[in-house]
């Protein structure tokens, strides 16, 4: 089977090259036969990569340990669920997944847009073929998943225990889906630039794609945070690690694009900027893969250094030169149709939103690669830690939160005093009341108070929008309130879905602001001994060490430490934190012991217990106990965000809104009651 997979990769490489060549020729000559050939090449690529993936999956599931990849990531006693996930646990498999997903999305994009955007599609197919060729060539020449060993080991090395977690099964594919689907908007941007068809048509073609990849990236990032939190046992979910940052960067630029694209649709401004954002997001997704795969920056996650890094670096340079070169070439065709009229307008709010998002992206980027920069400039590597990231990003994040409230409600062009009063009176009141209340109970961090006050501001703007919209439908159409609500959202999915996303962001900010109140203790306890931990809410947890037990479980040997937990004298239950030693089928340890954290979570705080080890084999245990306020809000904020994204993404029954609609709404509130 692996021979078949290997052959498929080689054929795919040739077809990809053919497809890219005929596609660009078809674009230039407008020859329909070439266009069809290019389209079929993409479908063929997809088919070949499906066969190759099936071959790899077959090798994994049949434990063909003669294949280096299979031996390196699986073992006989690995649960089937995780054997599946081994497909993308390593570099070689993830490259195959990348290529597969790019061609899948490419094929879908070509089918969906068949008959539309005829001048663009050949170039879209060509760009996708080029991207696919890059990944296939990287596999064939540097990192082939079907490579065989000179011998057959009796068993594989097994999957890293830390990857044996449901979060890790879904987190990488989500991120890959996010990274790869940016290729489609990028392909359309390239097509628009090459063909010179720079009206808003291409924007409409990619709006939903961008949203889709934004949604995948968001889910991937939140799942990654969840995995880090429950699996790594250091008590947090975000550490500004290079790999985390790498996934955050394209998310930021795409968020910026999703906002600025509205300005272009409504007002014909920011054309160059939008193309730049699409190209930049794609480059950042390649950069993210490069960062994780090359080892240029030391990271806890760093995978082994390999020459795959050079392939990515070359691709990065080529795509950057290509993308921005085209943009520079078409610069004169991308003049704004109108100028910014007032600083008190939706345009200005969105401009500032973009500025802040890009600044966050820029600072995160710069700080992430600071070791490289400082080494190049001063000859010594200087690394920067989370404090610097927070120092810069906390004020920027708070500014962004404020704009989240202002942007959707302020009038286009120039807001009148009346508009401002109508839209922002109650949100401002809510903000001030929240700030005053928190100051009154002596909340200790100014930035946290500010975050909650701004959160209240945004929440009230969103609630006000829903209330007014539902009220308007109720009055005009005589609909019952629940029906009015459903129709309101259903008929304006993009707008109200966006509001739901904003609510999710508020929940996330609330959680981040809670990080300031985290408490951490380390204790060594004999059985029967106990420790008191004070929560920032004022109550006290009383934890009593019960003892240590050891037993076998599936593919691991478990050492578990139990604690009885009570809160202010009320018994809550027993919490069990584990150390797991994973074993191979011969009973030999396969890796260092892994930590299994005990977590007791509610909307207010998490009690997070790590069992760090026993003292010289006795039942005396070392614990790390963390009180993590508001972590719950990260996961549910993420869910709300994803739900809002889905609402926006859901195809509307009445079809897309007319492309040419560029009507500026009059100052003041307009109830979009729909038909």
């Amino acid at each position: 089977m692996t021979e078949l997979g290997n052959i498929c990769l080689w054929i795919a490489l040739l077809i990809g090259l053919w497809g890219a060549a005929v596609a660009f020729m078809a674009g230039r000559t407008h020859r329909a036969d070439l266009g069809r050939s290019a389209e079929r090449s993409i479908f063929a690529l997809w088919g070949l990569l499906v066969i190759a993936s099936a071959a790899l999956m077959h090798a994994l599931l049949t434990h063909d340990f003669n294949v280096e990849y299979v031996a390196a990531y699986t073992s006989r006693n690995l649960p089937v669920f995780y054997t599946w996930s081994a497909f993308y646990a390593g570099q070689k498999g993830s490259l195959l997944l990348w290529a597969l997903v790019v061609t899948t999305f490419g094929s879908i994009a070509l089918v969906v847009n068949r008959g539309k955007y005829q001048e663009l599609t050949p170039y879209v197919a060509g760009t996708i073929a080029v991207i696919a060729v890059f990944f296939i060539a990287t596999m064939v020449f540097a990192s082939n998943p079907f490579e065989r060993l000179g011998f057959t080991p009796p068993d594989g090395r097994g999957l890293n225990p830390q990857l044996q977690n449901p979060g890790m099964v879904f987190h990488p594919p989500m991120l890959y889906l996010g990274y790869t689907s940016i290729s489609i908007p990028f392909a359309f941007a390239v097509a628009a630039l090459v063909s010179g068809k720079l009206d808003t048509g291409w924007l409409h073609a990619i709006r939903r794609w961008t949203l889709l990849s934004w949604l995948f990236l968001s889910c991937g990032i939140v799942l990654g945070m969840w995995w880090a939190y429950v699996e790594l046992g250091w008590g947090g979910y975000w550490a500004w690690d290079p790999v985390e940052n790498a996934s955050f960067l394209p998310w930021l630029t795409m968020t910026a694009f999703l906002h600025s694209v509205m300005i272009q649709e409504k007002r014909g401004m920011l054309k160059k900027w939008n193309i730049g954002l699409v190209v930049g997001s794609f480059l950042l997704s390649i950069f993210g893969t490069f960062l994780t795969r090359s080892g240029v920056i030391s990271s806890v996650h760093s995978f082994a250094q390999s020459n795959v890094g050079y392939f990515f670096l070359i691709a990065l340079v080529l795509f950057a030169v290509g993308g921005f070169g085209l943009l520079w070439w078409r610069w004169p065709m991308l003049q704004a149709e109108v100028q910014l009229e007032s600083m008190v307008s939706r345009e200005a709010a969105f401009l500032f939103n973009n500025l802040v998002l890009i600044l966050i992206a820029f600072t995160v980027f710069l700080l992430t690669i600071w070791p490289i920069i400082s080494e190049a400039v001063r000859g010594t590597k200087v690394t920067v830690g989370p404090p610097v990231f927070n120092l810069v990003n906390v004020p920027l994040g708070l500014g962004l939160l404020l704009l989240t409230g202002i942007g959707p409600l302020i009038a286009w062009r120039k807001a009148s005093a009346q508009n401002l009063k109508r839209q922002f009176l109650w949100p401002t009141v809510a903000m001030l009341v929240t700030a005053a209340a928190l100051a009154a109970i002596r909340m200790s961090y100014a930035s946290s108070i500010l975050a909650y006050a701004l959160g209240a501001f945004v929440t009230v703007t969103v609630v006000q929008e829903f209330v007014r919209g539902v009220g308007a439908r109720h009055r005009l159409h005589g609909e019952m309130l629940p029906l009015a609500f459903v129709r309101l959202v259903g008929r304006n999915r993009r707008r109200y879905g966006g509001y739901v996303v904003h609510l999710g962001m508020v929940m996330l900010f609330a959680a981040f602001a809670g990080l300031a109140f985290k408490r951490e203790t380390e204790v060594t306890l004999k059985p029967g001994q106990s420790v008191d931990v004070r929560s920032p809410y004022g109550w006290t947890y009383h934890l009593t060490h019960q003892g240590i037990s050891q037993y076998d479980e599936l593919n691991r040997f478990v050492t578990a430490a139990s604690m009885d937990v009570s809160k202010d004298g009320k018994y809550l239950g027993t919490m069990k934190a584990e150390k797991r030693q994973y074993l191979d089928s011969m009973g030999q340890p396969t890796a260092e012991p892994a930590t299994e954290v005990a977590i007791r979570s509610d909307a207010r705080e998490d009690l997070y217990i790590v069992f760090a080890g026993s003292v010289q084999g006795t039942e005396q245990a070392v614990y790390k106990i963390v009180i993590n306020p508001l972590v719950w809000w990260v996961w549910y904020g993420g869910l709300v965000l994803a739900f809002g994204g889905l609402i926006t993404l859901w195809p509307s029954a009445q079809g897309p809104t007319p492309a040419s609609r560029r009507r500026a709404e009059p100052a003041g509130y307009v109830a979009q009651v729909g038909a």
């Binding site: 080991p153 996650h301 600072t363 690394t383 380390e522 070392v622």
Partner: protein
């Protein structure tokens, strides 16, 4: 003044303050990242460098790890193949910390030649991408 100009001024102000924050942050908390050899070269030429916090990236020498669980103290020797230092770390070691892994320790080199670490990171890199070796 035109709105576009105002926006540019506002943007420049934000940009300036972000740049200032970043520069001061890096200056205050940026940490040198050195190998043991580079660290040895620095302290040999400049003795005041003992007081500077650094990050040292090195590999744990096999068989040198000792753990005192009661005081939560870990000691080991970290080497880059040329120069090596004994490291003393108080706290919980990550799961991946074991013989011959790459570690990054943050702390200060003492004049007595021991490295007092306040943080200890171990890379899981070797685990993710290693080629299986023949075992019989």
């Amino acid at each position: 003044m035109r709105a576009g100009t105002k926006f540019i001024i506002g943007g420049a102000l934000i940009l300036g303050s972000v740049g200032y924050l970043m520069a001061s942050g890096i200056k205050e908390t940026g940490v040198y990242y050195l190998t043991p050899t580079e660290l040895a070269a620095r302290v040999n030429t400049d003795h005041s460098f003992y007081n500077v916090g650094v990050k040292m990236g090195a590999r744990v020498v096999k068989g040198t790890i000792t753990r005192d669980v009661a005081t939560q103290t870990i000691t080991f020797r970290a080497s880059d193949g040329v120069q090596s230092y004994p490291v003393i770390y108080r706290g919980l070691a990550p799961d991946t910390f074991t013989d011959e892994v790459d570690v990054v320790v943050e702390g200060r080199l003492q004049p007595d030649g021991t490295f007092h670490a306040t943080t200890l990171l171990a890379k899981c890199g070797s685990r993710y991408e290693s080629v299986p070796t023949r075992t019989t």
